[in-house]
Symmetry: C2
Subunit: 491 residues, 2 copies
């Protein structure tokens, strides 16, 4: 087998980067921190989009589009939002270039300076609530359930393909409600959509919970999150849903008349999931041979490779392959038949393993004689000989098995890498030598959380929804605590 | 009928603007020239995207994503491109804001100045060809057939909703080929995709042709276009496909080894279609009652409205309506049942006419008795009473009829508004008093074209592919000409 990648156990970060590049998912662009999402990587994003969009619409949402530029002054309107988002950002100050008279090239036309600078959106609450102000007068105008598919820009200092890039793609939902209860319900509903998507499509078990105050979205009353565990023992936040209370309605003066005729501020939520989850998808399941993609998000679910010595053999094999292809396509399974003659079967095998194609079918002259094919599954690398007759039902079942098995493996990994720590030394030891999720008691103060972060680089990933009541003592301060929270180092 | 709109015959521009606003398609945002695409307008864009994306994939293309920012220097690399695109644009000069120490608010941090300014993409040839440089070594790496769905920014001075906005949404295809022939073929193929889409989905007859040198894409050897006629007699360019020759390959030094081992520059095409076509869709078909949407692009194809006096009646009607709904949905027809009790049927009728829903079904107590419904078509405003039994087949046929009829109407309009002019006075008269497409002779020089534009505001929309050879004299200069070209005033 060709070795494309740095060994995962030797250098996880390098393995990840190699994988993204070699599997043709994305690459760095000439623009600092901005990536090019290549067709194979983008095809995964399209599958993510299609499923999420379906789920959003099934829960009553519609899509819309708001401007990419936000006037600078908007960021100052919500007191906490400004702290979180108005710092590192792309700032448009001018709107015209002109020829450099002293030589060749272009310079900024100094006379084309904007009166107020525009910020390339890092998130759209402000520009959207400024619009909602004109859309909402009465309770009859509510709820507004809007989602936007968009690019956003945050001027990150240290970037990594998919995981943290200056520009990234995402969806951001922004909803407006007449009551607090309804908005809280929406916040929960959308976290449910994300966790359902993560578990059933990304094959990624996640822990649902609240963010601590330190880790909350800037401007939110409450941030709900789904947290996943990567194979190097670090956590990754895969999606967040925010209950914004009346903060943005107050900042942009969005009031409505309720059923009793009383004027009140509108209640809000926002929720987002980005191309970052492709990083999670890669890191959670892949191995030293390359990507391992869950079938439900794999752009190619099955690849068929002919093994032949001459063109007559190829012809017979191709006829059989095409029959299998159409039988699979009828079932909605995406298939590629790779009969290119510039690479040997062995190279192709390795290449599709690298690309994480869940099922490989190989057909040789012997298979034709016996009416069989060789079927290999990417997750376990197991091979078996299967009769051609009824192959489509077998493959459909196999894809389901693979989806389940990838999820099962990730769940088992998380199980063996979730720890309960009650002593500070154990806590530090676990973080330094083992990684993983650590359930520990915390006294509930931001001060303690910050100290823990300073000393260990671990943060509170969330306060799990299902964390049971339990009396204990804070792992750091020793002060009383009522429940355990989830600590980890994270991406 | 409620009058929502300025009369189309009185003030076409105002009618258009009213329509966009009142039908809830889009609105101006607080950011100069940037629009908010509201859910109903965005739903039309989603239908456009879905169909085009399907067509692109069926012709072998894949999607990818390139950075929104382009280094300033890239624009100077292609000699003509710089003239067309590097003038009015959004320029990012800084990447950090800081608190204004003298008061409240935020100011640009002067220490966070970019070494090289970044331009928000007005089109992506330069950044994409800079990437292709690393992707292409040999003929085996070709062709590259990539499309991108993205937002772009051009700093327009005069903007109009959908038709010309500072930020707009579009798709841009960027392909790379080993031979000139293949690239020309691709340019033609994609114009074919656009014209097929315009005619069969937008119900918009278009004329395919070449752009004159003046009107060509900056950096193209040849620009192909589809030109449509609006109801006010002005032309609108609905999509363009560019044969770029080796211009961008030379500008970014993209060479490949061909089959014979010889090094050559890569051949390129690009092609794009934007949210502007929503403006065309509106202007081509709509009337004083509101939008007229071709069924294939209508977010809601059928609306059902109950007419009742009490809740018992509503219950019986709702049961019948839901039966019809599911029968229609099985056929893939999108239906809305509007049983909201806060508006009267008359208001709803007018509102769905305004929104261009192709078919309206009204059901009252009398209909229940007779097992009938009232069916109204938006294009002709005709109504008929139809038996409930088998209604789904009737509606499916009716939607087809409406699609064809809207196309037919637009074709007839174009036919009666296409003129042949041989004298300058006639030419000017037609433009001033009639509008429409004018086929006239032209001497082939940019100079003449510019003079005609100066004197009449008309431009050469295209040199139609199917314009026959015909000896004549230039309408302006009297010099010899071999074929007629298409003149019009345009959006």
């Amino acid at each position: 087998m060709a070795k494309f990648l740095t060994n995962r156990e030797e250098n996880y970060a390098q393995w990840y980067n190699d994988l993204v590049i070699k599997a043709d998912l994305a690459e760095n662009s000439v623009v600092r921190g901005c990536m090019v999402i290549k067709p194979y990587g983008y095809a995964i994003w399209e599958k993510i989009q299609a499923e999420l969009d379906r789920k959003f619409k099934a829960t009553g949402h519609v899509n819309a589009y708001f401007p990419i530029f936000i006037p600078k002054s908007f960021f100052s309107k919500e007191a906490k939002h400004v702290e979180g988002f108005a710092k590192e950002c792309a700032i448009v100050t001018h709107y015209r270039l002109m020829k450099d008279e002293s030589g060749n090239g272009l310079i900024v036309d100094p006379s084309a300076k904007l009166e107020e600078e525009l910020i390339v959106r890092p998130t759209s609450e402000t520009i959207i609530w400024n619009s909602y102000k004109n859309w909402i007068q009465s309770y009859r105008d509510l709820p507004i359930l809007i989602n936007q598919w968009a690019n956003v820009v945050r001027w990150e200092m240290r970037t990594r393909l998919f995981l943290r890039t200056t520009e990234f793609l995402w969806q951001e939902g922004h909803t407006a409600h007449a009551t607090r209860e309804e908005a809280v319900e929406e916040t929960e509903r959308m976290l449910g959509v994300y966790s359902d998507f993560a578990e059933n499509f990304m094959a990624l078990p996640v822990i649902k919970g609240y963010k601590s105050e330190n880790e909350r979205f800037a401007g939110a009353i409450d941030t709900y999150t789904i947290e996943a565990l990567m194979q190097d023992g670090k956590a990754l936040q895969a999606g967040t849903s925010h209950f914004l209370g009346q903060n943005f309605a107050k900042a942009f003066d969005v009031q409505f008349t309720d059923k009793t005729g009383k004027l009140d501020y509108v209640w809000a939520t926002s929720w987002g999931l980005s191309t970052r989850v492709i990083g999670a998808l890669i890191m959670a399941h892949s191995d030293n041979n390359g990507l391992v993609l869950p079938p439900r998000l794999a752009p190619i679910q099955v690849v068929i490779i002919p093994i032949y010595k001459n063109s007559e053999q190829l012809e017979t094999i191709s006829a059989a392959a095409r029959k299998i292809m159409s039988a699979l396509e009828v079932r909605g399974i995406s298939v590629k038949y790779d009969d290119r003659d510039n690479n040997k079967p062995g190279w192709k095998f390795a290449n599709y393993e690298l690309k994480g194609v869940p099922v490989r079918i190989a057909i040789g002259p012997r298979d034709i004689e016996n009416s069989t094919v060789e079927v290999a599954r990417r997750d376990t690398l197991e091979k078996e000989i299967i009769p051609m007759n009824g192959i489509e039902a077998h493959i459909a079942g196999l894809l389901d098995d693979i989806q389940k098995n990838i999820y099962f493996k990730a769940s088992e990994f998380r199980k063996t890498n979730t720890f309960y720590a009650d002593k500070w030394d154990d806590f530090v030891n676990l973080l330094d030598n083992q990684g993983g999720f650590i359930m520990a008691h915390w006294d509930g103060t931001s001060e303690t959380e910050e100290k823990i972060k300073e000393e260990t680089k671990a943060t509170i990933r969330c306060i799990p929804f299902d964390s049971p009541d339990e009396d204990g003592k804070c792992i750091y301060s020793g002060k009383p605590s009522k429940r355990r929270v989830l600590f980890a180092r994270s991406y």
